[in-house]
Point group: C2
Chain length 257, copies 2
């Protein structure tokens, strides 16, 4: 029987401010068994860019990444946010290792082709070194993945953290029984946008088109749920959409085929 593996993706303010980060890592630490953490850091990247006089341009929540912005996200995601998380996990006796996609070729990508929009140095994942990740996990080590990949030709590429999490989950699904948890600002997918008590506990593949059509799932939530279904179809056991503050209870919206 496969061992279980819980992959948690957390972005937003919670990973970037020390008070909330400490609580988050306590909750993460309390999840039993094998674990892997994927983090964002967009707010800190935007803040650093602003201080350096570099303008941030976002299209549909995705960051346009020119050479100066790539340096910013490499510093913030690969350095500041990643290493603070790892040091805080080590302080809990958790043997964590911070990795970007270029480290041991953990995640390779192709630069996104220019169609309507030139995203710049943004990568679409094409290969995951699941052998190396699983060998770390089997040694009791917790990988902490920053949302950066590389093209194998020397170019670092900015990559969406949700995608990093789902690609890691899919690649590791042949070796582990993978639960993928997306933490975001809301306690789950909401029936009524402004009512945090209206969490939809369960969305099946059958329900999904109807919920998109009637507007319940809209905007940035559509690709999140679609990503979840893609992961399930690739062998991931279950996907949970929740908020970071609920990580201790593991409540939220379960996505199922």
């Amino acid at each position: 029987m496969k061992q279980s593996l819980v992959i948690v993706k957390v972005g937003g303010k919670i990973v970037e401010e020390s008070d909330t980060l400490e609580q988050l890592l306590d909750d993460f630490n309390a999840i039993p068994g094998n674990k892997l953490l994927v983090h964002g850091g967009g707010r800190s990247a935007t803040a650093l860019a602003e201080k350096l006089g570099i303008e941030s341009h976002m299209v549909d929540g995705r960051r346009i990444t020119d050479a100066a912005m790539l340096d910013v996200v490499t510093m913030v995601y690969g350095g500041l946010v990643n290493k603070k998380i790892v040091a805080s996990l080590q302080a809990r006796g958790v043997n964590a290792i911070g990795l970007t996609g270029t480290d041991c070729n953990v995640m390779m990508s192709d630069i996104r082709p220019v169609k309507d929009i030139d995203y710049g140095f943004v990568g679409d994942v094409k290969a995951v070194n699941s052998g190396f990740l699983s060998s770390l996990i089997n040694q009791g080590i917790i990988p902490v993945l920053a949302p950066l990949t590389h093209d194998g030709k020397g170019q670092l590429l900015n990559t969406n953290a949700d995608t990093i999490a789902s690609e890691a989950a899919k690649a590791l699904a042949s070796m582990f029984k993978v639960t993928l948890i997306y933490c975001f600002e809301k306690p789950g997918v909401l029936l009524h946008e402004d009512d945090d008590n209206s969490v939809i506990p369960y969305i099946s593949y059958y329900d999904f088109p109807r919920l998109v059509q009637d507007g319940t799932i809209s905007g940035g939530m559509i690709p999140k749920v679609q990503n979840a279904f893609n992961a399930l179809q690739a062998g991931v056991s279950s996907v949970l959409i929740t908020k970071a503050e609920s990580l201790d209870k593991l409540t939220g919206t379960t996505i199922a085929l």
Copy 2:
């Protein structure tokens, strides 16, 4: 018989500008057998700090590291410089992994006690996870170490890259026949400060006090040579002081007991 391991420490401009970095990594790559790279990044840290309006204070070449400067060096050493090197090595088909001291607890340190000078968040190394480093090396992976450590209680600490290199060399000396190479701006220890052709090919422990007394070895070179002797006394096989541009020829000053 122990396998060989070459540990190269490179700092300065050469690792921070892409043209010179590419040549350096070609030369590094040409060294046969097991390898480990330790890098600096001080110029980029100073430049970023300046852009952010953070003043750099140095005492005897050591950086005073307050909380804001710690964030800067974490971004520059752990993110920007480290990940660019790793991506460039991967482009050469070299399976490199970028690590700070907190990753898998590779290097733990104590914050430096305040005596005459308060260095701030600066760490003195107290333990090296040589087991993890050697397991990577034995898998053919090249560790690339950034000059950052942690105290095991959640605090990242800025740590001199020369020290990172010598501590790694000493800790790995029981497992490998270690050659430690320090690259700096000069082609070796010079008999006449301004004459690059006056490299002293060989300095023994017997010569050292005399060369300090007569002023041949002075300033920042004294702790470099002293560090080399400490490493040799702790079991490191040989130490070479050279400049990065001579890494392909491995000429310079050999330090010996």
